[in-house]
Structure formats: structure tokens, C-alpha cells
Symmetry: C2
Subunit: 309 residues, 2 copies
């Protein structure tokens, strides 16, 4: 069988390359093996107040919000969700290699401005949270390999992030699966009623220009495999092509039986460090030339769902 070893992302596609036999003693352990040996305390339970559960016809997408880097936007998004703002709206744009975006199509070009949905108690404008000051209290796990775009990269509360000590600024970076707030030209025109997820190569040029609010932690494939739009910028030329959003809920508001029970591997944990090292320097029968390095957006941050193990 001709294969290519699995790269851990969110999904448990962690098998060894079939046919390669049991790993030899000196082989770098696989990501699956490393995770098997993790301790319970190395996992952080995601706060159900910070989890958004979006139901698409194809499946469930769970996103973790980060109220530390984007407190105002996260609060506004929670309000919108609790107003049922997103229910029945649609994925309006899927641009290949770039982003999938959802919002109120009536607010887009070709929509009917008289039918635009009310934001309810949510704010129409929110001050930009493109960056925030570095503070001692902010968790930070540094990555050792540098970065093309930022002076320093690492993880803050298990979100991929960057910082510029000279400017005393830190920000969440745009990786595959990043959730962020679309906006118009004015920096405060994003309010969370239009959101996008990065579905291709990390669009790092958006860093510090848009507010990142979190990342997809389950069901990314239901976003990344959406049909692409063929209008300008990946908007759907025909409204009938749009994928409807059944609803979005804060996990804490769901009945216990429907609630995802997610745990995220802490980037401060020894297991995360082992996993990072195994990604950087993999020695086994398949990898002849370990990269020796890893890009911030190529680092897996494992998630497990205790409700659906």
C-alpha cells in the first residue's frame, strides 16, 4: 500500500502508515502514541461558554472562542448567538484556498436592505481587537523556529499567536481553521455578525488587520469541504447555492446531552512539548530527512471530545 503518514490535525487520523510494521525502539513515537501516554491533567476542558456549536446540514462545527484576545467581539458574538441571530442564515462565500464566510445575505450586495436582520441587543460596531498589549499574566509558550511574519510566535492559552515585544503587541494568528470577524473598511465595522474561517494556506497577511476570535476545534471538514462559490471573491453567484446554517448555539445553552465535552491539550504540558518535538524531528522508517523546524500554523493542537470519544 502506497501511503503517506498521517498528520494530526483535529481528527483522530493517527494511525501508523499501514504496512510499516511495529515501530522500532529508536523510532520517534507517533502522535497517537504520544497522546496515549498523556496524563489527564495535561488536558484543559473547554469552557462551554466559549464554545460555539454551528449546525450545518452536513454536520456539526464546534468553535472555541478566545475571550482573552478578543473580549469585546466574543461578548458581542455570544449576544448575537443568544438572539438567535445566525439561525437560518447561510454560508454566503467560500473562496478556495482562502475563507468560508457566513452572514446575513440580505446585507450583502444583491440583498434586500429592508430585510436585513436586526442585531437585537448586540452592538453594531465594536472597537477593533486586532492586537492587544503583552502582559506578564498572559500565558505564552514560545516556538523555537522563527516565523516569516512576526518577531515571535507561540501559543497563548493554546491558540496560535504572535508577538512583537518592541511594539508591546500580541495577536492571534490566522492559521487553517482560524475563526475571525469580517468587516468593511472602517476598523470598527466588524461586530461578529459576519464571520469567516480560514480554509487554505494560513492567510497570515490578515494578521493585525482583522479580529481573530477563535478556531474550529471539531468538524472543520464541514467548513473546508463546502462547495466553492463562483462569484467575485468566492461569493455564490446563485443564492440557491448557499449552504444554510441551521443554528448556532453557545454550548453552555445546549442540553447536557447535546453539548460537546471537549478537552484541549495544554500547550504548556510535557505531552505538547513531546508532540512538538516529534513533529519537528521525526525519525522513523518513512521520514528520512526530518524538517528540524515547524511553522506556527503546522503545529497540531489536539482536541478530544469526551462526549463522542
Amino acid at each position: 500500500m502506497l501511503v503517506l503518514p498521517a498528520l494530526l490535525l483535529w481528527l483522530p487520523a493517527l494511525a501508523d502508515p499501514p504496512g510499516s510494521g511495529p515501530p522500532k525502539r529508536q523510532d520517534t513515537p507517533t502522535l497517537a502514541q504520544i497522546l496515549t501516554e498523556s496524563k489527564a491533567w495535561e488536558w484543559r476542558r473547554a469552557d462551554p461558554q466559549d464554545l460555539l456549536v454551528m449546525r450545518l446540514p452536513s454536520g456539526r462545527v464546534v468553535m472555541e472562542l478566545d475571550p482573552v484576545y478578543a473580549p469585546l467581539h466574543v461578548a458581542n458574538i455570544r449576544t448575537l448567538v443568544r438572539e438567535r441571530y445566525f439561525d437560518g442564515l447561510a454560508i454566503v462565500r467560500v473562496q478556495d484556498g482562502f475563507v468560508a464566510q457566513w452572514d446575513d445575505p440580505q446585507g450583502d450586495d444583491g440583498g434586500d436592505p429592508h430585510k436585513v436582520r436586526s442585531l437585537g441587543k448586540a452592538k453594531a460596531t465594536v472597537p477593533p481587537e486586532f492586537t492587544r498589549p503583552i502582559e506578564r499574566s498572559l500565558p505564552w509558550v514560545s516556538l523555537p523556529d522563527g516565523d516569516v511574519y512576526a518577531p515571535e510566535v507561540g501559543f497563548s492559552d493554546d491558540f496560535p499567536a504572535a508577538r512583537d515585544p518592541a511594539a508591546n503587541e500580541t495577536w492571534l494568528v490566522h492559521c487553517y481553521g482560524t475563526l475571525a470577524v469580517a468587516r468593511d473598511n472602517p476598523p470598527d465595522s466588524g461586530n461578529g455578525s459576519a464571520l469567516y474561517v480560514a480554509i487554505g494556506q494560513a492567510p497570515r497577511r490578515l494578521d493585525r488587520n482583522l479580529t481573530v476570535v477563535g478556531r474550529v476545534v471539531e468538524g472543520m471538514e464541514y467548513v473546508s469541504a463546502l462547495p466553492r462559490g463562483h462569484g467575485p471573491m468566492g461569493f455564490y453567484a446563485d443564492p440557491k447555492e448557499r449552504t444554510p446554517i441551521l443554528d448556532i448555539r453557545v454550548a453552555a445553552d445546549l442540553p447536557q446531552s447535546e453539548r460537546p465535552n471537549l478537552e484541549i491539550l495544554r500547550s504548556r504540558s510535557p505531552t505538547f512539548q513531546r508532540l512538538l518535538e516529534a513533529t519537528r524531528n521525526r525519525h522513523d522508517a518513512f521520514y528520512l530527512t526530518p524538517p528540524g523546524k515547524v511553522d506556527i500554523c503546522a503545529v497540531p493542537v489536539p482536541v478530544r471530545d469526551l462526549a463522542n470519544p
Copy 2:
């Protein structure tokens, strides 16, 4: 309308952000504007001998092969295609954020070894072409912003590439859309009968471990939006989930009317340099903080199809 400006990839999603009005004099021109001003000689016509045309039920995928970096594999793949090796085979694996792979399912686990398709005149083993020596005659357009994984990155014949002058080695890098050869553990076990395309964040850890043979230049969305597999490593648990490959042809073997007539913007051209600079340092009403840098895998290499303008 809340939007996010388009990032040029392969598709002509080049519109300005709607609602932002005509660009001001001092604005960085959009990628569409830059391309509009390109000269005919700045485009290279893709050699139809180097174009693979794969027909999936959803649409046509065109891949450009690079016989300079992977001459032996490219020759073997052409032979396989001309033997009709791939016709009626299937996409057997789609691992979210990683790769889509096709091969003969009878050769995979669970297949019937007695039904494995003959390679015909193609070779069963091909020496690895993971890297090649740097030579003066190889075209090279350097990128100025460094790289996490390699000492130098740039473009060689319009393919994203890296090189290590100390080791006198150069190689094509794994970016979104890269086409490469799956293999088993022995380095020469890849022969081109199993191929994969990167569909997520650039899997750069594969660089120098697998033979890159080219990239998707049209129809990437028909690869990237394939349904994900839920078996180990993204293989389909149920064979019925596989997407059939109707056929793969060398473009030169197609009747003129069915042949893609692709032109690739030369990375040595002034227009490419303008485009690169506009990507690195975009100043307009939307971008407040230009990145000032660009990653090798975030550089667009424009393609146009003169047969389907």
C-alpha cells in the same frame, strides 16, 4: 456589506472589496489591476506534454508537471497515463487539512491483490527525486523574507522551491495545491501510480521526503472540496464513498477542442515582482498593517486559461 478582500489564488476572484469605492491614487493596486497591465510576453504557455487533465464527476482538474525537478517520475507518470492506468480508479483518501490521494484501491489494505492493475510499461520503482543539485542553469527567483524550513526559498520555473547552497541541494516545496508521489517506506517505492495533492496548510515537513512532481493549476476546488474520509489517515471507511476518476490524460493527447490552453505568469517577469510587492506591502482603505513579508506558499502564481477565458 461586510467582506474580506480577495486573495488571488488560481481563480479569477480578483474583485475589489465591494463598497470600498474606486481605489485612491496612492492605494496599492489590486492583483486584478496588476494582471490587467501585464504584457503578453510575461506569460509562459504551459507545455501540453506537461499538463495532466483529470476528469472527476464534479469537474476538471489540471496539473502542471515539472520535468526539471522530477524527470524520472514525470516520465513514469506520463507512461502510466498513456497506459490508461488511472482511468476508472478513485480518490481513495481525503484527510482534512492534509492531502487528497488517488491510486488503485485494490492495492490498498482491504483491496484484492489479485485484481491489482498492471503498471504496463511503467516502472514499478523509480529512484527518489526528493532533491536535486543546484545548477547555474536552473532558473531561480529569490524571495526576500526568509523561511522557517529552508535556508532559501523562491521560484524555479514558476514552481515554489527551496534550496540549501551549503548542501548544494534544491527541491520543490509542499504548498497548498502541490502534486506529489505517495510511497511506502523504501525511498524508491513511489512510482507515480499513487499521487496526492496538498489541500490544507502547506505540509512542509514532507519536503525532501517525497518527490514533488508539480502543482494543480486549474480546478483545485474539485480536489480541496472532496468529501473527507473517516477511516485511518482519511481513507474512506466504505469504498462506496470514494470519488471515481473518470480518466486522466496528457493535455497533448487531447483533441485541440478539449485541451486546456494555460498560461502561467513568469515569476521572472516585472508583473510578478509587482504582484509580489503588492502582496507584501498592501496599502489601501482596508489593510491598515501590511505584513511586509510573504511566505513562499502564500505567493500567488497566476494562471489563465486562454481556452476558457
